[in-house]
């Protein structure tokens, strides 16, 4: 090892040049970084929710739509000439925008495009509800009456009380990267319409909008938070070192590590997900520790002038530190790498690249700092000032020895409260809930869910196993049964299927007699109705409900929430029913898809991954500690503060009501990986003190005196760094920031207060 160190110090310029070169390469790669906001891309490719979503799109052309709602709170709601003129105007405008696909009826649904199916004296009339804007009260009343009688679109396109109506429009297939632009464009249009006066208010939502806004928020957030956390680091470094090199060298180290990490991500084609936007902050906060340790040690040795030449001194620093640094990096890395146990790409990427970044930070620390210190002129050292918080650290050493029982009691109570909280822990992977309450997007979504059938899609695809299978009366009746059963759920706003339309046609062809609102009596009749319809309405009116060979049917469900527990309960309730109605042994196959289902699967995987990665990280870190300390008991003790902190973390979530989601699920393994460093540093020092023959009390005081500072600094950086996330525009980052910060506080307390007490419990036996 010393030879390598020697070589670094002999060629400091080459080392610096190499580092700069690599940074240049990585920085260049960063141009290729792209942002992934598609929620389905957060699922592993083999997940049924991911596959079914593709099938849904492929088979039924069903993709997520942009939704605009217009609400008029006046007496007649939107049933007045002014509102309907706006409806017509906006519909025409949407139809003309090149970003929208408007080939078929289901590409652009609005009051001005949907069609009424009505029986006439001797035939079937399929007509648009609105053929131009109705001009007088009578026409408007007729429109209102037909909307209510036809029923299919009530609550879906027009709210039941007539106070609002919806536009749903399909973005072109290749416009995903333009979702934010499309949102701005639509927003500008409706704002211009609002500005002309009138009591109509517009709301824009739908998954393309939500994902588009996410795509804008994410890089903005990264750019905004970077300087804040840098300022925080500069402040803490200044308080610790008070020299330019002490402040700027660590900053250069972590910035380089950040650039290398982002460059690696870009080179490997890993996208930025919501959770991975936090990686730079994480690397800044965690990576700084190694540099701080290095510079502290170097300053200490320089202060005592233990070595004549600075090269010798630096070799000594490197030699002393490489092992503990490697150890802490390995344990932290193990905590993050345990996230690979999850099936979800964002979580896997987060863990993998955090570990990569930590490795980079260590490597750069060990190369850049010695090389830079070799080149910088040696300065007369400042008189060694007492580091900040020395008083506190001194007090701490004695306090823990004085009040062991109180400390134990405090942590015991904390543990009990936390365990109670863990039992209340909930899971939710809602997309909309990632926006803060009060965010315009979330408000619009709430408004739309309140007035209409719901903005969250849930889809059932039923393969009848044979051509023309869906025309069978029995099957159609079961589709109707399925819809009725699903609609019993109060969170289900509406559902639609081909059965509904066939019922309406059957009624229309029997002189509009409501008694005939039932599925056609024979398969042939159903086929002939559909043929008949194709002469009057556009045939692709139904392409989203069935395939051309009449083999596969699609039931579209609108839900008012994408909360996991609601979807999970609904799926659970439907399982038995669908098995009975569409038995597999008769060739049927039922598949679920849509945003609701994606969210459901996501949360399932969050839990599975959570349990797996926690187990893996606990085991890995435990084994590492065992290997490092060589004794099982010490390894077990080392795990106590972090285990406690992780329990408190989940307990807090349960008690406060923060559900596990894709971001908060990361906190456990993360806290474990970062927090165990404290324990390792502490135990290391305590071990050396014990070996030197000091008593338990002396060992505790001395340990506190030396590593107490470093741990305190680390805690400040990590807690401060994660508290910066509280200013985030997105909810998951805020929650994650607060949770990690709080968990780190607990971890610090457990290490510096509980540890010495525990070590004192069996002071005769426990010799570290």
């Amino acid at each position: 090892m010393k030879q390598i160190f020697n070589r670094v110090l002999t060629h400091p310029k080459s080392v610096l040049l190499l580092l700069l070169l690599l940074t240049g390469v990585a920085g260049n790669q960063m141009r290729n970084i792209y942002i992934e906001t598609d929620m389905d891309a957060m699922l592993p490719r083999h997940s049924d929710a991911y596959i079914n979503k593709q099938v849904l799109e492929e088979r039924f052309g069903s993709t997520d739509m942009l939704i605009i709602g217009v609400i008029n709170d006046e007496k007649d709601g939107i049933y007045n000439t002014h509102s309907l003129t706006l409806v017509q105007e906006l519909t025409d405008w949407l139809a003309e925008q090149p970003h929208f696909r408007t080939l078929a009826l289901n590409d652009l649904l609005s009051l001005a495009t949907i069609k009424d199916i009505r029986g006439s004296e001797n035939g079937l009339d399929v007509e648009k509800f609105m053929d131009g804007v109705p001009e007088n009260r009578a026409e408007i009343d007729y429109l209102k009456k037909r909307m209510h009688e036809f029923g299919v679109y009530e609550d879906v396109i027009v709210s039941a009380d007539g106070s609002g109506t919806i536009f749903a429009v399909r973005p072109m297939p290749d416009t995903r990267h333009k979702y934010a632009e499309i949102y701005d464009m639509v927003k500008a249009k409706v704002e211009a319409m609002e500005a002309r006066g009138g009591s109509e208010r517009f709301f824009i939502s739908g998954r393309p909008v939500i994902e588009g806004v996410f795509g804008v928020y994410m890089p903005q957030e990264m750019k905004r938070m970077q300087p804040i956390i840098m300022a925080l680091l500069l402040l803490l470094l200044y308080l610790s070192f008070r020299t330019p090199r002490g402040v700027f060298l660590p900053i250069v180290v972590v910035l380089m590590a950040e650039i290398w990490m982002l460059g690696t991500m870009a080179a490997l084609g890993a996208p930025i997900y919501t959770v991975t936007t936090m990686l730079p902050i994480l690397i800044l906060a965690i990576g700084i520790a190694d540099a701080v340790h290095f510079l502290s040690r170097e300053r200490l040795l320089a202060h005592y002038q233990a070595y004549a030449h600075r090269k010798e001194r630096l070799i000594e620093v490197m030699h002393e530190l490489w092992k503990p640094m490697l150890m802490t990096s390995v344990t932290t890395g193990a905590g993050f790498l345990s996230m690979l146990a999850s099936d979800l790409p964002p979580i896997r990427d987060f863990g993998l690249f955090a570990a990569v970044g930590i490795a980079y930070a260590l490597l750069i620390t060990m190369l850049l700092l010695p090389a830079a210190l070799m080149l910088l002129p040696e300065k007369e050292k400042h008189a060694d000032r007492k580091p900040l918080f020395s008083g506190y650290v001194e007090w701490l050493g004695r306090a823990v020895l004085a009040y062991p029982k109180r400390i134990m009691a405090f942590f015991a109570v904390l543990l009990i409260i936390s365990v109670a909280g863990v039992l209340k822990l909930d899971v939710n992977a809602s997309l909309v809930d990632q926006f803060k309450p009060g965010d315009p997007i979330r408000k619009a979504d709430e408004m739309l869910n309140q007035h209409f059938s719901g903005t969250t899609s849930l889809d059932v695809m039923i393969d009848t196993g044979r051509e023309n299978g869906l025309l069978e009366p029995e099957f159609l009746q079961h589709l109707v049964d399925l819809q009725l059963e699903i609609e019993k759920d109060p969170m289900v706003g509406d559902s639609s299927s081909i059965a509904e339309f066939l019922q309406t046609m059957n009624q229309a062809l029997h002189a509009d007699d409501p008694a005939w609102k039932r599925v056609p009596d024979s398969s042939d009749l159903a086929a002939q109705y559909l043929l008949l319809y194709s002469f009057s309405g556009a045939p692709d009116d139904f392409e989203t409900f069935m395939t051309g060979d009449y083999r596969q049917a699609h039931v579209r469900i609108n839900m008012k929430t994408d909360e996991t527990r609601v979807v999970a309960a609904l799926l659970e309730r439907m399982k038995g029913k669908t098995d009975a109605w569409f038995p597999e042994d008769k060739g049927f196959k039922v598949e679920w898809a849509g945003t609701g289902f994606t969210v459901h699967r996501l949360s399932e995987m969050i839990i599975e991954g959570q349990v797996a990665s926690l187990a893996v990280s606990i085991l890995a870190i435990f084994l590492l500690c065992w290997w490092m300390f060589g004794r099982l008991l010490i390894a077990a003790i080392a795990m106590i503060p972090v285990s406690l902190a992780v329990t408190v973390n989940y307990g807090m979530m349960g008690n406060i009501g923060i559900p596990l989601d894709i971001a908060t699920a990361l906190t456990g393994a993360m806290a474990l990986g970062i927090g165990v460093d404290f324990a390792i540093h502490y135990l290391h020092r305590y071990h050396e003190e014990s070996v030197a023959g000091r008593s338990y009390e002396e060992s505790v005081i001395n340990t506190n005196r030396s590593v107490g500072h470093a741990i305190l600094f680390n805690s400040f950086v990590v807690v401060g760094g994660f508290l910066v996330l509280l200013s985030a525009a997105l909810y998951p980052q805020m929650k994650l920031g607060a949770l990690i910060a709080a968990t780190m506080v607990v971890c610090y307390l457990a290490t510096c207060y509980l540890f010495p007490v525990l070590l004192g419990l069996g002071r005769k036996k426990i010799r570290v």
Partner: protein, 268 residues
């Protein structure tokens, strides 16, 4: 089509070199409109609807048509698939846009004749990629501004290229097209290719007519393929067993025949 019109064309064609001027776009479209397509026709028709995944849906029907001056009547019997067999459609098609066409459909499973409300010209027809406007022999000429943009070789045929733009925004909206472009054979006045652009100005569809030959002295395309380039959906129509000018009686185009169904022996 009609002897008088034929006379007019011949005169025009003869006259053309005298004035040594190219015909206008409208002149050419009139030639297309008045091309002889027989006074009546019986033919078999096969529809193949092919979606973007390549899944095929087929229908077979037999169709009878008779001209009444500039109006025409037709009756179409479905032969396959079996679940719509004997379904029959009767259409009385009136020239011009003033009067809506009359359409009746017989549904054997319901044993009833139902009148069908007339569709918008831009509506798609029977699940095909053809709109009601497209399936007519020629579009309503007075609704478009026609411009001859040139002559060229398409395959081994010399063609005129004529572009038609609906005259106003309402028509564009109604038809669903902002522009159409016809490639018209100079020898027999049949268009062999049509390109369509949607209201956003993007290319929407193209129609290609193939296997053009003379049957009973009438130029006939045996196959037509309409491809929607945006949706990837396409419709192939193949025609066979043509019988032109067999002297179909008026009775053939009545509600009674609609219910009776198609019987080959019933024809001459």
């Amino acid at each position: 089509m009609h002897k008088i019109s034929l006379l007019i064309f011949s005169t025009m064609l003869l006259a053309a070199p005298v004035y040594s001027a190219e015909p206008t776009g409208l002149d050419i479209m009139r030639l297309v409109d008045t091309r002889d397509d027989g006074d009546d026709l019986i033919q078999k028709m096969k529809q193949r609807l092919i979606d973007r995944r390549g899944d095929v849906r087929e229908r077979e029907m037999i169709s009878l048509r008779k001209d009444y001056g500039r109006d025409s009547r037709s009756i179409t019997y479905f032969l396959a698939p079996s679940n719509v067999r004997d379904t029959a459609l009767l259409t009385w098609d009136y020239d011009g846009v003033e009067k809506d066409d009359d359409q009746w459909l017989y549904l054997p499973a319901l044993k009833k004749v139902r009148r069908i409300s007339s569709s918008d010209r831009g509506d798609y027809f029977m699940g095909t990629d053809f709109t009601f406007e497209d399936i007519k022999q020629t579009p309503e000429l007075e609704d478009y501004n026609w411009v001859l943009t040139g002559s060229e070789m398409l395959g081994d045929q010399e063609v005129w290229v004529v572009e038609g733009e609906p005259k106003n925004d309402d028509l564009k909206k109604n038809l669903g097209y902002a522009k159409t472009r016809y490639y018209i054979r100079k020898d027999n006045h049949m268009y062999i290719r049509v390109d369509f652009w949607d209201r956003k100005g993007q290319e929407l569809k193209h129609l290609v007519s193939e296997e053009i030959r003379q049957i009973d002295g009438v130029w006939t395309a045996m196959k037509g393929t309409m491809t929607n380039v945006q949706s990837g959906h396409r419709t192939e129509l193949t025609f066979s067993e043509h019988r032109y000018n067999s002297g179909l009686s008026d009775r053939e185009f009545s509600e009674r025949m609609l219910k009776r169904g198609y019987r080959d022996s019933g024809q001459n």
